[in-house]
């Protein structure tokens, strides 16, 4: 049934059932966009469970998308510099909080298709998180380095946490900011080589626990879907830093030490991302830094149990929600390719060439389809993850991140 609804490459070319309805949406959105009116009026009440946004990094705009018919509903403009932008969602999945490179934090109403609040909270930012209870939005900043916490309702500043790790030195750039159970935020200090846990029980007075000397230049981090473990990848040395959030008193442990010892790493043309949790069974899949490999970790022992040779330097290593497949995209010069790994056999079972500069992939909540942004082709493509057929293609202006609303209900996203 889903297949029938989604066969058309675009609303205009499809004669599948429901095409008329999709056409209507398309025309409505287009007409409203032309009229300069960003509001798209849904015919009657509408849920948000199949909505999402695509970041148009160059234009500073978003495309509001829906995944039931794979169409664009509206274009939302005026969000500033969206290079490396990311987003989280309110607990009712109605609002997206978009973190821009220029320090802009924008609250976007998906049902109205417009920005409802916006603050420029720093000179240079990298991402953010929403608290377990949904009341706080935290942003990790490069300049000035630290984390700022805002009221999710009003975007009023609630707490400011400068990442001062050593007296006399400028505050560290902050990366890998995630939410964790217990209304905590966890983040890493790029310059400081530390992991900090902020307990937001009293939002105005965060309780900070510092873990020092976790390794050189943590570049990004992730938290397990159960909120149990936080892992930071290290750029400055081989290895990763692991923090057990059930037992933070045990401190940070190094895993995969020296996974590339004795080998000359390749230049890293794009910093990998650790997002979501590429886990299948007890296996965890992470990108190797400066190597054409995906590393496989056993979650019981945290030891490396395999390396999968892939087409280039991995940027995103993402598990399909059912954990059966791992999808990987790459840095230059291999960024036109996507490879699919079978989580059981650890073999690369398929390769796609979506086009020049594949930047991001986002699975639909149950994993039957995946959205892929192809920056230099100005397109977002949707693939069937079983057949690998392209089932939709949507124009977008230099698209990068894709964020679907089911993130609202997932720890660490």
């Amino acid at each position: 049934m889903t297949q029938g609804m989604k066969t058309g490459l675009n609303p205009g070319s499809s004669s599948a059932p429901g095409a008329g309805c999709r056409k209507g949406w398309g025309y409505l959105a287009a007409a409203l966009a032309l009229a300069g009116n960003l509001v798209f009026a849904a015919p009657g009440p509408r849920g948000t469970g199949d909505l999402g946004i695509v970041v148009e990094r160059g234009a500073g705009s978003l495309r509001l998308i829906e995944t039931s018919g794979n169409t664009t509903l509206a274009r939302i403009e005026g969000l500033g510099d969206l290079s490396h932008a990311s987003a989280v969602f309110s607990r009712d999945s109605r609002y997206a909080f978009v973190f821009g490179r220029d320090g802009g934090l924008s609250k976007v109403d998906l049902l109205e298709g417009q920005v409802v609040r916006r603050v420029v909270q720093a000179g240079n930012a990298i991402g953010g998180a929403i608290s377990q209870n949904g009341r706080l939005v935290a942003v990790s900043n490069y300049e000035p380095g630290g984390v700022k916490v805002f009221d999710a309702e009003t975007l009023d500043l609630v707490a400011d946490i400068p990442a001062i790790y050593q007296e006399g030195k400028p505050a560290s750039k902050v990366v890998g900011l995630v939410d964790a159970p217990g209304n905590r935020f966890v983040f890493s200090l790029w310059d400081g080589g530390e992991i900090w846990v902020a307990d937001m029980t009293d939002p105005a007075k965060p309780g900070i626990t510092r873990h020092r000397g976790v390794g050189r230049q943590p570049y990004d981090a992730l938290v397990t879907p159960d909120g149990h473990f936080y892992i930071a990848g290290l750029f400055g040395e081989d290895g990763m830093a692991l923090l057990d959030l059930w037992h933070p008193e045990k401190g940070v442990r190094r895993i995969l030490p020296g996974y590339g010892r004795g080998e000359e790493p390749l230049p890293v043309y794009k910093m990998p991302h650790l997002e979501g949790w590429a886990v299948a069974g007890r296996r965890v899949f992470v990108p190797a830094i400066g190597r054409h490999e995906v590393l496989v970790i056993d979650q019981d022992t945290w030891a490396e149990v395999g390396r999968i040779p892939v087409a280039g330097q991995p940027v995103f290593v993402m598990a399909r929600p059912d954990g059966r497949q791992i999808w990987v995209n790459f840095a230059l010069p291999d960024n036109e390719r996507v490879q699919v790994i079978d989580a059981e056999t650890l073999a690369v079972i398929h390769e796609l060439k979506p086009g020049k500069a594949v930047l991001h992939m986002e699975f639909e909540p149950r994993g039957e389809e995946v959205w892929i942004s192809v920056r230099d082709e100005d397109r977002v493509d949707v693939y069937d993850t079983q057949t690998f057929a392209r089932v939709a293609s949507i124009p977008a202006d230099k698209p990068s991140g894709i964020f679907l609303t089911d993130r609202a209900h997932r720890i660490g996203l």
Binding site: D81, S83, H84, N124, Y219, F235, P267, K270, K398
Partner: protein
């Protein structure tokens, strides 16, 4: 670095003062020029098509770390006014060879030496 910038500003102001005696039109022409004049006699060796591709590369790929508007990110900002006291050969060398101990990789696998220099000049606003 601020010292270097001040120097150039002082230098420019000095020239400006001398030129006050010249006509308004000449002065306007001077103002439109970049702070640091082109070194004479360097042919860019980069075609127009390639220049467009290099601009795209600068915005999108350098922009991954330095920001789409070159306002900085994991890498430092590369705004034009910050490039004033950075010589073209230094910038070109850094682009081609990277900076050891930082996240800046060498880009020589993607660029010819002429293209590295073209990008360095682009950062300084020296390309036509």
């Amino acid at each position: 670095m601020p010292l270097g910038l001040n120097k150039v500003i002082g230098w420019t102001a000095g020239i400006g003062a001398v030129l006050v005696i010249l006509s308004g039109a000449s002065l306007a022409a001077l103002a439109a020029r970049p702070l640091v004049p082109d070194p004479p006699g360097i042919a860019s060796g980069v075609s127009e098509d390639r220049a467009a591709a290099l601009r795209h590369f600068l915005t999108q790929d350098c922009g991954s770390c330095h920001g789409l508007t070159l306002g900085g990110g994991l890498g430092p900002p590369l705004r034009r006014e910050l490039m004033v006291d950075k010589p073209v050969p230094y910038l070109a060398y850094t682009i081609m060879n990277g900076l050891h101990g930082t996240a800046m990789p060498p880009w020589s696998a993607f660029l010819t030496p002429e293209e590295g220099e073209w990008l360095a000049r682009e950062l300084k606003g020296m390309n036509p």
